[in-house]
């Protein structure tokens, strides 16, 4: 393990020291470490993946494999606000696609795209465990439930 390999704030590094204590095998810390890097930098670049590999003393492809397997880890930058609209069955039954269309029209981007000012990225995601309050979306870490077309407009307007 190479303790100096990570390019992070001292707060982040301290957090990682605490995290390592939780597991008898330090490889388990990969996922929490990737979250910390992503929270600090917005995404996990190839350089950061390489430094995580050096930090843990494992082949870089093992880190890459984890980043690419899990949908919440981003290998590339995205908008400041990542709008994730659920479109699995229960939300679809309650109008998820209308919500997607409202957002597309308002922000003038298609699914998978980012607004020119880098503010919003729109994606469709699978079930977020909020089927009883469908349709709904997650923006960054926050859930917005029981959406209507009006509410969506309000929410997007309120984000600076």
């Amino acid at each position: 393990m190479n303790k100096t390999a990570l390019d992070l704030s001292s707060k982040g590094k301290k957090e990682i020291d605490d995290i390592l204590k939780r597991y008898p095998d330090e490889n388990s810390a990969i996922m929490p470490i990737l979250f910390i890097i992503q929270d600090e930098k917005g995404f996990i670049s190839l350089e950061d993946q390489l430094s995580v590999a050096k930090f843990l003393g494992i082949p870089p492809m093992k880190v890459r494999g984890v980043v690419e397997f899990y949908t919440m880890f981003r290998g590339e930058k995205c908008g400041r606000y990542l709008i994730q609209v659920c479109h699995t069955l229960s939300c679809a039954l309650r109008g998820a696609h209308t919500i997607v269309d409202v957002i597309r029209k308002k922000l003038k981007i298609d699914v998978g795209e980012t607004t020119k000012d880098g503010k919003f990225t729109l994606v469709k995601v699978e079930c977020l465990g909020s089927c009883g309050t469908a349709p709904m979306m997650q923006i960054n870490d926050d859930y917005y439930e029981n959406l209507t077309e009006e509410k969506v407009e309000e929410i997007l307007d309120s984000l600076d």
């Binding site: 929490p32 979250f35 494999g65 984890v66 069955l89 039954l93 465990g129 089927c131």
Partner: protein, 432 residues
Amino acid sequence: MAVEFEPVLTKYVDDPEQAKLSKYVERGGYKAAEKAVKSILPDDLISIVKESKLRGRGGAGFPTGVKWGFVPKDSDKPVYLTVNADESEPGTFKDRLLIEKDPHQLLEGTIIAAKAVGCETAYIYIRGEFYYGTKVLQKAIEEAYEKNYLGKNIFGTDMNLEVYIHRGAGAYICGEETALLDSLEGKRGYPRMKPPFPAVVGLYESPTVINNVETLCNLPHIINRGADWFASIGTEHSKGPKLFAVSGHVKKPGVYELPMSVRMRELIYDVCGGMLDENRKLKAVIPGGSSTPVITAKEIDVELCFDALQEYKTMLGSAGVMVMDESTCMVDAAINITRFYVHESCGQCTPCREGGKWLLRILQTIEKGTAKKEDIDLLLDICENIEGKTVCPFGEAMVWPIQGFVNKFRKEFEEHIENRGCPIEKDRSIRR
């Protein structure tokens, strides 16, 4: 009537104070954990839970006490407990309620389970999207450590219990218990061959018990009120209170706590206020999360328990009830669910990895109206080539919905092909 049921697990979920340790204790919380830790032997705890006939609430319904009993007593390795909070089955949102509104109930159940199997380190694997729930749980854990309900020498005994949160990062397959273990170990979430079973060779090659959130939340009540009380609720093989998460075309979607003797008709019409749009008739219901085969409007007198549903060629699963009215095209529904499984397939084994997208494509041509008559039987043949042939039950989870829709609504599939398009009058497409 079955629908009038005094809630046990969700008694205090409407009180925001319930998440605070002081309130939880005031209402009698952590007494069961204290009793279990201080004065009940592990083997006796296992017996009590076996007697209660508590079955896992994650979807498989395996008897919890029996699962605990598989942990070898003579292992020189530490025993781990992982709490499966990776709730990702479409239609299911009941664990989230328990985590966000009554986190101490979960922690108390974790302590009892840890005592029963001799565990000193427990990991709560919570899906990454449940950010709010993670924060609530973190706070609750801190409070519990402060009061020495967790940590070293809990309740003043020689038992230690560390509880850590480990966030998932967006992979439904990590709700499968062995994929969860691989993910916890820092790898891609690939399910493992069984045998060996996790109770013998699990996390870090040590004996490991994986329990669902709702399962663990039942434990304090079983200890407090007794196995007999628990077994008095429900049907012969499906005991104890059950959380049903209802969504779709109903007036009052949400989580409802009921015994498993409740019938689907009662759940939809009496509890959930009936159809969302009164002018539209009920057409189909998925009883237990997206991987369970659909039942028709004619079959809703079935009791929502592990056994009765099997007679309708479906299962209770995670009790995620998804209600569809007549504006829903069944092929659309099949496409939506199949798209979910294709997205979530881990890709480890051949049939699921390669067959899933093939199924999706065929369904899409049926919907568009460009399929051939033989394609329906092709669908079923592909499903047969996947079912039972995969490393983990994801293969079955992927094909059972398709088989369910085709078997119960075959005519609709055939009409799509004959009419070269969808015969349903629908105002929204749900498949995209």
